[in-house]
Symmetry: C2
Amino acid sequence: MTSDAAPAPARARREQILATAAELFAERGFHGVSVADLGAACGVSGPALYKHFASKDAVLAEMLVSISEHLLAGGEERVAAADGPADAVRALVDFHVAFALDQPALIVVQDRDWASLPAEARERVRVLQRAYVEVWAAQLRALDTGLGAEASRAAAHAAFGLVNSTPHSARASRERMRELLAAMACRALGVAPAPAQVEMSG
Amino acid sequence: MTSDAAPAPARARREQILATAAELFAERGFHGVSVADLGAACGVSGPALYKHFASKDAVLAEMLVSISEHLLAGGEERVAAADGPADAVRALVDFHVAFALDQPALIVVQDRDWASLPAEARERVRVLQRAYVEVWAAQLRALDTGLGAEASRAAAHAAFGLVNSTPHSARASRERMRELLAAMACRALGVAPAPAQVEMSG
DNA sequence: GCTAGCCGTTAACGCCCACTAACCTTCCCT
DNA sequence: AGGGAAGGTTAGTGGGCGTTAACGGCTAGC
C-alpha cells in the first residue's frame, strides 16, 4: 500500500507529525489542536504540514486507520496462533493490554475523536473496529456457548473499556499495570489468567 | 447554592438546554457543537442561550460538575448503607451500571470533554472524581488487604472503563446489559455478583 | 553549473463561531 | 393600568483556524 520509493527524511517527518499529533490530540482533543500548534510541536511552523498531508483531517484519518488495522491484524494473528478459545482470549487480552500500555495516546484519540473523521475514513475505521470486535466475540462465544451475538460483542466492548482505562490511571509501574489489567480482564471474561497471578493482589 | 426564587419556565429552559447539550456534545463533541446548533435543537435560536448561561463553557461546566457530584454522593450513600466491603462493591457496581445505562450521553461527555472545561470547573470536577475513585478504592482495599493504594485506584478506573463501555455497544436490552456489565465488573473486582447470575450466559 | 523538486517560510483569505448590542414582546406585580 | 424584569429576536464584531498563494534555499542529477 505504501510506496518505498519516497526519500527517508520525508517519511521521517511524516511519522514525526503523526506521533506528535497523537500526543497533542490525546491531550487537548482534535479540535483543541491547531495546525499551527502541531507544526510548532514538530519544530516547523504552521502550513508546513501540507507538504506531507492533504489536510488536518488526513492526519487524524491516517492515524486512526492504521491503529485499527494494527489491532485487527494483531488480533487475528493471536487467535490463529492460539490453542483453543480460552488460550485465544488470554492472548487477545495480553495483546490489547500491551498495546494500551504502549500507546495510551492512540487509545485516547481513537475513542474520543472518531467522530471528527471525514466520512470515508470514519466508515473504514468502523468496519475495521467491528471486525476486531468480532474476533474477540467469536472466541467468547466459543468459550461460552450460551452467549448470544450481541452479548458477546458487548462483553468484548466491556473488556476494551476495562483495558483502555490505562490512560486514566497510569500511575503504577508498567509491569504491575499489565498484570492488574490482564488479570481483571480475564476474570471479567471468565477465563483464568495466563501466569500464576490469580488473586488481585498478585 | 441555587436560588429557588426563579420562575418555573426559566428553570425548565435551563434544564432543557443542559439535557439537549448532553446529547449533542455526546454525538459531536463539545467543539463540534455551536451555540447556534444548541439553540436550534432547543427550539430557540442562537444567543438565547446567554439568557440562561454565562457562556458555552458554563453549560459544560454545570453539566460535568453536577454529574460528578451525583456520582460521589450516590457512591458514598451506597457504601454507607452496605453491609461490609463485598456488599459495598456490589452496591457501587449496581449504582454505576444504572447510571451508565440511564445517562450514556453524560458518560461520554464526561470523559471526552473534560479537557474543554474552564480551569476552575476542571479542577472542581477533578477533585470530585478523585473522591469518587477513592470511595471505590477504599472498599477494594478493605476487600483485598494486599492491594496497594495505586493498584486499588487503577482497579476502580478499570471498573469504570468496563461499565462505561455501554455507549459503545448498547444494542442488547437494558436488563441484559445491566446483568452482563454488573456480572463482569464484579468478577473483575473479585466479588460474587449480587443475584443468582454468576455465569456469563446468565 | 544549471535545473528540478522537496521542504520550508510568511502573508493573506475566508469562514465559522462565541459573544455583544440593541430592540421587542409578554406577563407578573403593585 | 403601567412598569420592569424575563426571555426572546436579528445584526454585528472580533478573533481564531484551516487552507492557499507566493516565494526561497538545499540538494541531486544531467
